[in-house]
Symmetry: C2
Subunit: 335 residues, 2 copies
């Protein structure tokens, strides 16, 4: 494989030192116009591009033009929206993106965190594994620029974070169910260790309490945030002697799994069982039936997270900001 052209190649062709070439690229007004144009012509001719690895090694933190992005589950369309938001922002500012999916595995998260660090990213956007995420907190304490999305870090407050009012979103959804006359409402959450799973449960509980419905613990279940567990838990719930008449599902994938089980059980939605999902999807309207869902602005979250990270990098001493966006309850036909 032929080796790529580098500064030396260009310098030799232009009969100047590599420093001049470097300057021609980074500080064009610091080099003589005629030299500049000669260099530029050569660069174009041989299609020279600076080696980012060498650049990153030399340049100090904050100006390497690369972000890290670490999401828990790329199969979840919500995170895909977040990714797109981050990516669009990065592209617009000419940042590269080192994007990793830790697939809800603590080991993978640790490994990717290490890779990102040792890839010398300027900063990263992370949806932490859980609220105690030691690795992330360590990084923050060392002063590494990080913004959290979707999930916070419990008591640890010195961090930029953008998320959604999960409790309120859940509260509204469950309130709607109650308004429609449901009393036996189940909640299927994701991994219990994930903050959002708990917050959404809290919203669910509040709504029941507010309406004087006693909490039935056998209707509150947690899975692993994936399709299969939604399916399995819904199946069990529906085969209870006294099954719920409504199910509030804690994320996208769980919703889809639950939907599958409800259909398999032969029950009609919403007549026999109602369902509202946390997280809307572009195709929710094409589901059977069109799904009533709590929409999170994933794309916006991603975009703003990237901007927060950028600001943090540019001014490491600025105050931490917490942004909490609202969800929207989209009523369709599943409740």
């Amino acid at each position: 494989m032929k080796s790529e052209p580098n500064l030396k190649t260009v310098a030799k062709m232009a009969n100047v030192s590599i420093a001049t070439v470097s300057r021609a690229i980074n500080y064009p007004d610091k080099v003589d116009p005629s030299t500049l144009s000669r260099i530029n012509k050569i660069i174009k001719e041989i299609n020279y591009r600076p080696n980012r690895v060498a650049q990153r090694l030399r340049i100090k933190g904050g100006h390497r033009k690369i972000f890290g992005l670490l999401v828990p589950d790329i199969q979840n369309p919500f995170y895909v929206d977040v990714i797109r938001g981050v990516e669009d922002y990065a592209y617009s500012r000419n940042y590269a993106l080192l994007m990793c999916n830790f697939a809800q595995s603590k080991d993978k998260e640790t490994m990717y965190l290490n890779i990102m660090k040792s890839e010398s990213v300027d900063g990263m956007i992370v949806a932490p594994y859980d609220e105690f995420d030691k690795e992330v907190i360590d990084l923050l304490q060392k002063g590494f620029p990080i913004v959290c999305v979707d999930r916070g870090l419990g008591d640890y407050q010195d961090v930029d974070i953008i998320l959604v009012d999960n409790e309120k979103g859940a509260y509204e959804a469950v309130s709607l169910m109650i308004k429609k006359g449901h009393k036996r409402i189940a909640y299927i959450g994701g991994l219990p260790s994930i903050p959002t799973s708990q917050q959404r449960k809290d919203g669910y509980v509040k709504a029941l309490q507010k309406n004087n419905i006693t909490i039935d613990d056998s209707l509150i279940k947690f899975g692993d945030s994936k399709h299969e567990s939604g399916k399995e838990i819904a199946r069990k719930l529906l085969s209870l002697k006294n099954p719920p008449t409504a199910i509030f599902t804690g994320n996208n994938l769980i919703t889809l799994g639950a939907l599958e089980s409800i259909h398999a059980s032969g029950k009609k939605i919403p007549q026999d069982v109602a369902i509202i999902g946390f997280d809307d999807m572009p195709w929710s309207i094409s589901l059977n039936p069109p799904l009533t869902a709590v929409r999170q602005p994933g794309y916006e979250i991603g975009k703003r997270a990237a901007d927060m990270l950028y600001q943090r990098i540019m001014d490491p001493d600025r105050a931490y900001s917490k942004v909490m966006l609202n969800t929207i309850l989209i009523e369709r036909n599943s409740c």
Copy 2:
């Protein structure tokens, strides 16, 4: 921000030269056991990790342990499967992954290709923008390790590639429609420049011809491979004076869009209009109605692509391999 420990830090603490530390890590049997354990203790203690950027700069191609992955649309669940396959393989071999989504934009593709090159990846897995993709072909000609997934490069044959028999998959789907009595069958393809859009159309045409149904060009449409265009085109198709009784959609997102339009039109599926989608989704069964679809083994494609890339890197002179996997037609209730 405190600076990370490096070889020098460890060397100083262990009272040896950085070369010895480096050897302790890379060739443990080349250093004295007592020195080794001393060094290892220190490494663990201060949690030293080699700087991948510096490593990559030094180490020559093929052993830098980083792959690039370039997909056309991360919103399309098919590519998400491919990504997962590649990622699992990479993780198992301790490779990092520079993952980029060019969102069906030629400009972005070019930029990401450049970034990957200048990030010095060992090789990359790419679903090219179209079959003429000059940038990708250039890279190949320079001997850069690349494997193509999902889409080929037209006449350019010197490349490893793994994809699915699109024509056959489409042929089977449309044949099923015909068997069910449909004569006016529409095809909504993705971007016409994408090879798969054409191959799936070819399968569609073949099935019609085989059954002596005359091709009606007004029923063959191409969009931009996204949800919106599926929706829009389906809407127009359905409002024709003589609308199709069946629609074969050329990808995931188009299917979802078309589904939305069909529902909006008030037509019943499959009584009024049948639909079969290319690409199955985990939640196809939860759609309204459960979707009949052509399944591509995305995860396997990703996994095998990664392995092909690995093999290519390890042995640059091996013969090129083309792998064509079969699709499976999954009959549910939409046709």
